[in-house]
Symmetry: C3
Subunit: 466 residues, 3 copies
Amino acid sequence: MAASKFSWLSFSLGLLLLCGVSEETQTGRCRIDSLEALEPSRRVESEAGVTEYYDENSDQLQCAGVSVMRERIEPNGLLLPSYSNSPRLVYILQGRGITGVVIPGCPESYQQSGGRRFGGREGDEEEERDQSFQDEHQKIQHFRQGDVLVLPAGVAHWCYNDGKSPVTAVTVFDTSNSANQLDATHRQFLLAGRKQQGQRGSSRTSRRGEESSGDNVFSGFDVELLAEAIGVSRETARKLQSQDDNRGHIVRVERGLEVLRPRPSRREEEEEEGGKMAAVNGLDEAICSMKMRENIGEPSKADLYIPGGGRLTVLNNQKLPILSLVHLSANRGVLQRNAILAPHWNINAHAVVFVTSGRGRLQIVSNQGKNAFDGELRQGQLIVVPQNFAVLAQARSDGFSWISFQTNENAMNSAVVGKTSALRGIPVDVLVNSYRISREEAKNLKFNRGQEMAIFSPRSSKERAF
Amino acid sequence: MAASKFSWLSFSLGLLLLCGVSEETQTGRCRIDSLEALEPSRRVESEAGVTEYYDENSDQLQCAGVSVMRERIEPNGLLLPSYSNSPRLVYILQGRGITGVVIPGCPESYQQSGGRRFGGREGDEEEERDQSFQDEHQKIQHFRQGDVLVLPAGVAHWCYNDGKSPVTAVTVFDTSNSANQLDATHRQFLLAGRKQQGQRGSSRTSRRGEESSGDNVFSGFDVELLAEAIGVSRETARKLQSQDDNRGHIVRVERGLEVLRPRPSRREEEEEEGGKMAAVNGLDEAICSMKMRENIGEPSKADLYIPGGGRLTVLNNQKLPILSLVHLSANRGVLQRNAILAPHWNINAHAVVFVTSGRGRLQIVSNQGKNAFDGELRQGQLIVVPQNFAVLAQARSDGFSWISFQTNENAMNSAVVGKTSALRGIPVDVLVNSYRISREEAKNLKFNRGQEMAIFSPRSSKERAF
Amino acid sequence: MAASKFSWLSFSLGLLLLCGVSEETQTGRCRIDSLEALEPSRRVESEAGVTEYYDENSDQLQCAGVSVMRERIEPNGLLLPSYSNSPRLVYILQGRGITGVVIPGCPESYQQSGGRRFGGREGDEEEERDQSFQDEHQKIQHFRQGDVLVLPAGVAHWCYNDGKSPVTAVTVFDTSNSANQLDATHRQFLLAGRKQQGQRGSSRTSRRGEESSGDNVFSGFDVELLAEAIGVSRETARKLQSQDDNRGHIVRVERGLEVLRPRPSRREEEEEEGGKMAAVNGLDEAICSMKMRENIGEPSKADLYIPGGGRLTVLNNQKLPILSLVHLSANRGVLQRNAILAPHWNINAHAVVFVTSGRGRLQIVSNQGKNAFDGELRQGQLIVVPQNFAVLAQARSDGFSWISFQTNENAMNSAVVGKTSALRGIPVDVLVNSYRISREEAKNLKFNRGQEMAIFSPRSSKERAF
């Protein structure tokens, strides 16, 4: 067989570019002739927060193979340690906090020697503290508004609000991910606390096994055996099972959580530095020090900025390599008053679009040329834009911002018009004959949106509100 | 159908991928105890061509997770721009033409400066042409009989017959490919024109959502919003929607299509040169200049040639790297009168076999040792040879030629007898005891087909008709 | 079952693959609220051995997407050549033998020149042998108790017991592997002999298409055509079809099998040498000389050894690269009297646990915190520990040994307590607030199992029985 004329280098770069390596599995039928704006259908209250679930059984979430929730953690609220059968992306809508992800085999690199002080929160009382007590644990990360957090499947994590205002976040679990070998249902495994019974908005019967109340994994073990295995008293083992704990899975830390950690820094570069210091030498550095967080909320991070139009910030595996592990990516969009998100389709991914502020009109078109959605989307609502479906959006007068989660580590789309678009790539004479238009019309079609791409400012007004 | 290994290099590279890279997802049950020769079940006529679909709901196509169609484009016929949810391979049965694949981000590398002339078809009238008009678009490729074209999922393409005779082609869509995150149905998204209602041969009810008539994706948008988004008049926007266009998706270009392109060359090396010149520097070179076409029809391309027997030409990811992106490969087989395609099984792929000429007798055997197919296959028919099923073919007196599409980028098979076969790799004494035969018989079994592989010429006659 | 990471190297290499490479496809719903110890449900007797199948339709095997069988081959028993639609791992419980795997394209590297003698078994009579007869075939491998054999999908293999005692083995077929594009049913394609009708323990109706009796693949071909294709007499072709062969698929070789092979050596290093000698030069060496076998039964191979507790031996793609092709791994565990396998969960794989000796108490906990299994498992029984489910085991007084097959080439788990565990990685104050325990209790929880990992010796007795 002839040797290829290609170099492996360029070839593999190509692979990264085009379809990535997404290994999504399919979950049956996509009944998506008609889409709707989704709002949370179930609400679970905890001592120090609230979790709201979007209906996992809705046709669009089933087609996309994802499960979505929105969480609110009050100040001093601690999200108890748990793990999930699916990888997830979390977008921080508001607030700040710290989180720990425990990867087996990574070092307990945050170590306190006897003489060193805790880096606890300012204002905490310290008189009762045992100064000689030493702790060590895995790396802790700060997060803040606009961050995307990446959590691999099956890995324990916890989260704490160390700010003055609530943390709110939206989370997408990719239940159809190849990392999940169980069925395509979101399953959360608690390591502490108990899940409370949720209150449902609707009385639908569950098609996919939605989780209601449940205990933590220690509850399923025999107390005696558990105590012996862990090497603690029966009493402590019983506490691990949390049977009489009604705080839910977000609990209040009365005097604030004390953990060993670098001070949060304003400048992200320094935070990065902190992250790197925690890494140990050798190959494991690759994963143990792998960055699991990136901010895409700040305007300065924008990949595309159109004065009077808006901005787009893309987060894919080239910016954040851990996304290659979870086969997901995200982007953040902001449209100003009346600006237009150019008609396009997602080539290699579904998009789960959550509105972070404002309102926009969205139109989504199926392969039959039928309107699968034509309506308004407002803050807190979400919709799935299925792979290959054409979509177009226009901000209302109060602007329109969203976070979009995509089921491919390098989600790509194809614009219909504008720079690097489908129509731009097609010869004028093909357009003339395709649409039975004049050469002049075809030329307008190709070039009227000249150097613009993705976001078009409204024709009439060109206000700059950024 | 058959693809014995011919060089150590390609072989070993291939094996590295043996079980590893194909990311086919499974589509439920394979009810394939009984296979049948398929003919098109639905026919859609357009102004300048015909599309015929094989029944996507047939058990064998469902098991293989593919959808198949045959297309005929008349001279001056233009297949309107569209994209599909699945990657596809197209084999050109007859004719020649040009095609454009629009990959977002690749440069509009075919540019016309004002002083340069179009490279239009000879014989076109040019008096009305605006000589100062400049166009630019993405690379265009020539194709001709015997070519395999590779089209990734979700990427717009169009096609034009610039020859004197019809273009006919057979296309396999790999709907169960990992690149398709929608359900395993072929979905075509038109960028222009409208799909016509098809005429069915059978009155079966559809199990998978077969597409009937449909509009293009512009039709689903509001005209007003579309016009504003694209920056054209409402009238042009309405034309994009093609609501009153009854030409179908293959239309006639009255005076021939004018596009910028290098002259087709007889010598493929020169064409290649052209392709490379179009590439831009940097990372995108890898994908934007990736070859998407390879001829396997010409006898001179054969990887295996048996005088008096026939020939085999294999096209896998080692010859055409883009096949690694779509997880498909193909081979072309020609058997002369009474020649035999050696009994073998496909190790890592299904094979969709389409008969390009002649007739052959095929036998396909299941894991129960049952005959799943024993019959004749003739031009225009197709059959699926399921993964691992044993298959054997013999040409009738008029010879037997086929194109086989395989659901793995490096499809491999294991011959039963002959060089590099299963029986050849097994010790004689194992065969003696397995079949209760003498050492002499076992020796014959292993060595009678000596240095022959894949294709065996008939014992009696050794005519050379190539 | 448990496979904590022991070296940084293996760990980090592993994590790169954490979510990335396993391409398991999902097989619908995992109804695994309640698990049970499985015993074989169907038994097929052959002339020189017995095959027992575990019920492929049980919820747990369906969830894990695997099929399991146990085989017994008597001395001088030959397992006839066949191939399967799924890759498999085989663990040799007892005995020794030789096996041939025929990979198309690999050389017939075991060649006998005229003057060389067969390396037959000692004690064979040789008077009738044709000394001038030459054979050549692909590499043959020795195996013995404690070996894991790796067989890729679709590749022919045979096996022979050349020892004095029976060979017993347990085999897991990964029917949901991406290498299998047919449905998730185990399909065995015989190249010789016939499958006998099995005797069932239960009278369940089959949900997945369990194979009963069946013929070999030659049987499905026309004798005439087969004879011509292979180049043998009709009589020989008929023998290939084995229609009147009632020996089953394990047959007796009366005077012992004669094959060309290096003498088995006691020292594995030498065996390796033998394997390497068989390789040819060039790139193909990678696959044709790839090691397909590794011993994990010997105590000296242990990755973790706890005096008084037990040992664990992990076999993943870092130790045996071919596992990357089949997306499977294995581990071998031995617990001494009353020792405890630390509570943990499998991060990225299901585990199919087969008990090789002794008895143990197992507890398995679901995401609801419910006990999915609490019972005793004894020799010959198996159970699936689903991905992410928490599991804990304690040996009975006679100890507990198992082999665990895992559906990921680098299966990883997360221990709950001990070194490199989830609780160790979490700050003390998070534990204090999670479980409402004192700092002292939290400290005990984190550090009581100090440097211990994976296996905990019983607190009371510390006997050393290894």
